[in-house]
Amino acid sequence: MRRYIARQLVQLVVVVFGISLLAFAILHVLGDPVLLLLPQNAGKEEFERYRHLLGLDRPIYVQYWKFVSRAVLGDFGKSWYADTPAFSLVLERMPPTIYLTLSGLVVALVIALPLGTVAALRRHSWVDSLCTAVAVAGQAAPIFWLGIMLIIVFSVRLRLLPASGYGTWQNFLMPAFCLGAALAPITMRLVRSGVIEVMNMEFIKTARAKGLAEGRVVVKHAFRNACIPVITVLGLQFGQLLGGAIITETIFAWPGVATLTVESIRNQDFPVVQCAVVLLALLIVTVNLLVDVVVGLIDPRIRAS
């Protein structure tokens, strides 16, 4: 087990290194910070002076080293727009994003677990067909459109739910449903195929032969085993889930990291963008690592391979 975790840790370091390179490259290779900072009519000397001031006239690897050695200490520079450290700005917005992501995950599981299991147990029935149809439609519906439709129906027409804002449980309903609906189709397919696979296994026959009630066979024996691929894939999909949260946040004006990032991009506030990118990546790889460890604990076969 220790070697398994060590291997995952090495991978984590490599991925974080890659992301930091990416975040650095976005600003320094693709664009020129000075060009973005100074007004267009600034003179040539002005540009040179700023370039020297920001250390941009030094070799690119020196600049990268400076960026990394500061970033490790949580120093991503000050926001060009708000005059506060980018790090604290991003950290402040982290909890809403995490809550949204988790509640989206819960919604997805509440939809997908029962439907996927029923679809697997009653294969080729109308429930199964209905699930497939809902899954196909769900995968095609863009989250941002679904969100707007929800707002039009529930906020504008029926006046039941707030269209934006944060704090009360009513605020959570639409964003969480929106994100959950985006994640539910793939989860449902995973649950369905997982349960189908498990139901054909020997230990299910054994359980039945022992005379266990069918409900108990499904819940205690089949379902638990079917959960392993679901946990793995959902964990690895955490990045995509966060991507969905980014889209959802912008629709419902959710005060999370994504809204901040989009605002910062509009304002060309790159320290904040870089910081958000790196911290989100860190969050994603940590979750991936935890999922790997948890799955390894549940299923010894994975640990060994």
Binding site: G18, G31, P142, W145, I148, A258
Partner: protein, 304 residues
């Protein structure tokens, strides 16, 4: 020419029967895939309408009709027959804008997919064929890219490069390659050890010829299936970027920026945001249906 012998006749007959049986099987399978065929027809209609937009659109997509600002679809009260799906905040015809808007989505979708498929297939082939350090490097790159939300990456890069059509195609194209690379690598690893590749190597074929003549032909159907499904993903992302104002800039009609503009008016004029979104939904739906059918038909073992 001599008359064919009996044996030859029987062989010809057998071949004929086999061919017609194969044809029938193909038709049967196609029938089973009627959802896919239906979807393909709808998709063709969408492509055709976007292509001949100037001929079929009822108005110029930029023409302003200030008398009919924010007029609802024709079947509602206050709707006018002049504008079937209603108009937007400056009185531009929504139907015309939707027909034109399809052009952006389809062009971006196809162009970006061609770029990412090219990059992904080449990297996947190198990783799978050469193995070792090449494989390790490319796999690490894939892991980095797959870890990170595609949306955020696209947002950040667009912010630096500036929003326009070409940049969007480049970003979506460059960011989308890992899925191809991962699948192609896995398949290449398996094919690399098959007899016909070993035979090719024994005959003294070079790497390039082995890869492109022996391995790639076996991957074509897989790549086609992934590429089809990816077009839908790219269209959704493109719309999202345009929706945020980081994609195609107004007044050029694109489904995404129409949706973004409509969002401002959703309190009173629900139709402006609803119809472009519906267009995105239907397009991605039929592409997905077609992709799934293609997968069942060409490559039933592929797991995506």
């Amino acid at each position: 020419m001599s008359t064919p012998s009996r044996v030859e006749l029987t062989e010809m007959g057998a071949a004929h029967i086999a061919a017609s049986a194969a044809r029938q099987a193909t038709w049967r399978r196609l029938l089973r895939l009627r959802w896919g065929v239906g979807a393909a027809v709808v998709l063709l209609l969408i492509i055709a309408s976007a292509t001949v937009a100037p001929l079929i659109a009822p108005y110029d997509p930029l023409a302003v009709d200030i008398r009919h600002r924010l007029s609802p679809p024709a079947w509602m009260d206050r709707g006018t027959a002049e504008h079937l799906l209603g108009t937007d905040q400056v009185g531009r015809d929504l139907l015309a804008r939707m027909i034109y808007g399809g052009r952006v989505s389809l062009v971006v979708g196809v162009a970006a997919v061609i770029i990412s498929a090219t990059i992904g297939v080449l990297l996947g082939l190198s990783a799978g064929y050469f193995g070792g350090n090449t494989d390790w490097t490319i796999m690490t790159l894939i892991n980095v890219m797959l870890t990170f939300p595609f949306v955020l990456l696209a947002l950040a890069v667009i912010a630096v490069l500036g929003p326009n059509l070409v940049n969007m195609i480049i970003v979506l194209g460059v960011a989308g390659w890992p899925i191809y690379a991962r699948v192609v690598r896995a398949e290449t690893l398996a094919i690399r050890e098959r007899e016909f590749v070993l035979a090719g190597r024994a005959l003294g074929m070079g790497h390039v010829r082995l890869v492109f003549r022996q391995i790639v032909p076996n991957l074509v159907s897989t790549i086609v299936v992934i590429a089809t499904l990816q077009v839908a993903q790219v269209i959704i992302l493109e719309s999202f970027l345009s929706f945020l104002g980081l994609g195609v800039q107004p007044p050029t009609p694109a489904w995404g920026n129409m949706l973004g503009e409509g969002r401002v008016y959703m309190l009173n004029s629900w139709w402006i945001a609803t119809f472009p979104g519906l267009a995105i939904f239907v397009t991605t739906l039929v592409i997905n249906l077609m992709g799934n059918a293609l997968r069942d038909w060409l490559d039933p073992h592929l797991k995506l």
